[in-house]
Symmetry: C2
């Protein structure tokens, strides 16, 4: 008999009583190990004992202490999600990734710890080395991402949603934006377009070399050169400062104006442009074709459907999570995995074939 705490061991936290495994054991009239085994199911226990124990668990509302459990080398069942807030806090694009990551994690029995601090590398080290989390997902990965570069030192597996140039021991999941840039040009080329305007993303994303934004643009421009397609770039703008009226006026005023728009801006900006095109009397796709890339317009309220090469957060998140879980639970070696998904083009009738259909392009 344990003298020091054989008596009522129920702890009071504030006004609320939290039962421990010993309380359950006493209530059920068995030993603590029996309770533990009933719960973990790692040993066969007689039905009668099991019932008594479960009844006690129910009665006391027993929930094992997550920390004591982890001290025994068990997993914490928590995934860290790194999404550093850089500059303005209005990062609407994160949202889908947050939710889908959390969703995928929960389905695998994990919770998500949100790391949004500026000092991301530090935070990640802290929670992995402190055994707070079992693995890490990197969001909003830049071309030269210091988190990905530091992932080599982490004691837990790590997956990036994105494709940084340095990715020591950190798996990468993304859409193949290089292929996407090429495909966008080829697709429009095949439909006869020879002069295209590129509607840029807001400038801050280029400045910090946000991975996909840069890769797509670079590849698109290079393929345009290959095909002999002329590309005009929209003027640069800061987030929430885009002048759609001016853009439309300047771009589509002259006689030899572009026949298509490749959009890399977000849904709001694109919506404003569509609106201004309508005001200017230009109809889609008769007067102007529109191809949106790196967006996901299906969930957005657009003033008209737009053909796009979407990035689907749900898919990326669930694949990233599957990979991470396999590393956590089956010790799978994922460090060298680079999984770039081929881009998909969703036709929604915003692109016209302007009929120089004599050429063919190979994908």
């Amino acid at each position: 008999m344990n003298l020091s705490n054989g008596a009522a061991r129920a702890l009071t936290k504030g006004a609320i009583v939290v039962a421990g495994i010993k309380d359950v054991a006493r209530e059920a009239g068995v030993s603590v190990s029996t309770v533990s085994y009933v719960i973990s199911g790692k040993r066969s226990i007689s039905a009668k004992t099991t019932d008594r124990v479960m009844a006690a668990v129910e009665k006391l509302g027993y929930i094992p202490d997550a920390n004591a459990r982890k001290m025994r080398g068990m997993r914490s069942q928590v995934i860290a999600l790194s999404a550093p807030i850089r500059g303005d806090i209005n990062q609407a694009k994160y949202n889908a990734y947050f939710l889908h990551t959390a969703w995928a994690a929960r389905n695998a029995g994990y919770d998500v710890l949100l790391l949004t601090g500026q000092d991301a590398v530090n935070d990640i080290c802290r929670v992995t080395e402190g055994n707070l989390v079992d693995g890490v997902v990197l969001l909003d990965v830049e071309e030269n991402d210091e988190r990905a570069a530091a992932s080599g030192r982490l004691p837990k597996p790590c997956v990036a949603i994105g494709y940084p140039s340095i990715h020591k021991r950190c798996a990468c999941i993304d859409i193949d934006f290089a292929a996407a840039g090429k495909k966008a040009v080829d697709y429009l080329f095949d439909k006869g377009h020879r002069k295209i305007v590129f509607l840029r993303n807001n400038e801050s994303d280029y400045e910090r070399e946000s991975g996909y934004v840069v890769i797509f643009r670079r590849s698109m421009l290079s393929q345009a050169k290959v095909r002999g397609v002329e590309v005009i770039e929209s003027p640069r703008y800061e987030a929430d400062c885009f002048d759609a009226k001016r853009f439309v006026r300047d771009t589509f005023a002259g006689v030899d104006c572009p026949t298509a728009i490749i959009n890399q801006a977000n849904a709001s900006v694109l919506n404003l442009v569509l609106q201004e095109l309508a005001v200017a009397g230009l109809s889609i796709p008769e007067d102007v074709s529109v191809l949106s890339c790196g967006t996901y317009l299906e969930g957005e309220l657009m003033s008209r459907p737009v053909t796009e090469m979407p990035v689907m957060p749900e898919k990326l998140c669930s694949r990233a999570m599957r990979l991470l879980i396999s590393a956590i639970e089956e010790n799978a070696e994922i460090m060298d995995v680079v999984d770039l998904e081929a881009p998909v083009l969703k036709e929604r009738g915003s692109i016209a074939d302007i009929g120089r259909g004599d050429q063919m392009s190979s994908l």
Copy 2:
């Protein structure tokens, strides 16, 4: 001398070595308690010893195990953020709250654990009783919120951003939407408006009695009755299915059409309406006045500025966090706190005074 593990105690996790406090102690040639005190600073240690210990900490990259720490009754420095995903996963409105909560938490030295599972009450119990978190923030609170109703049983403090009818032992932080509904009507009344169209939020929010949406509408309608203001309600619609063209046509076709819009829909819907108003040749505020409520348009890309009574997530989140932290760190009794902020009206020139200025209303 401890025989069982006095030797090299550095644990290997995967290929990475994690040092424990014993390793640091051995490296520095001191006892574990000395290391602990150097780190916590709870006892004065000679400068020489301190230096040796810190050097060892640096060298080994020692980071205390968060779990062992918590076993000793320390805080986990983690806040749970409950934002159950109901129905579709495209809950863009959550985003600002996620980021601002995380931001406020980090400033106070806490991380955020995201709980988005369907079974919110269960998740909250699990993480609070399991000592995974020090406190809970409730998001997207409904009129009859089961989480708020269950908060009485939680062993950790809890703050709701919202104002549910039942809130046992759970503090509430929100904007006073009842006052906001009243103020919206009074403001337009004072400017001479006597017939108003209410642009509803999407239907799912009313169905599940999302707190603020319901409270605002109810109070607005009741005050309209008091003032003798006629209110037409926009047709119901599901998320992402709003027909703006039709709404504008049906509402502003006749001779005796409304002179003002009170908007409760999100920025996308409102943008579509503004667009259609322009197409219909109606200008703001000359032909139609617009007052948006429960939105936060400042961060959005609107086709024109709109006067609004904004809900500012940053403010709510930081107040909620302050309150929660005071409960956690100073054992403040916050259970009975209900903190409803007076609504603010941001003029942005979308409302006309149509000049029956003979009446005055008291706020």
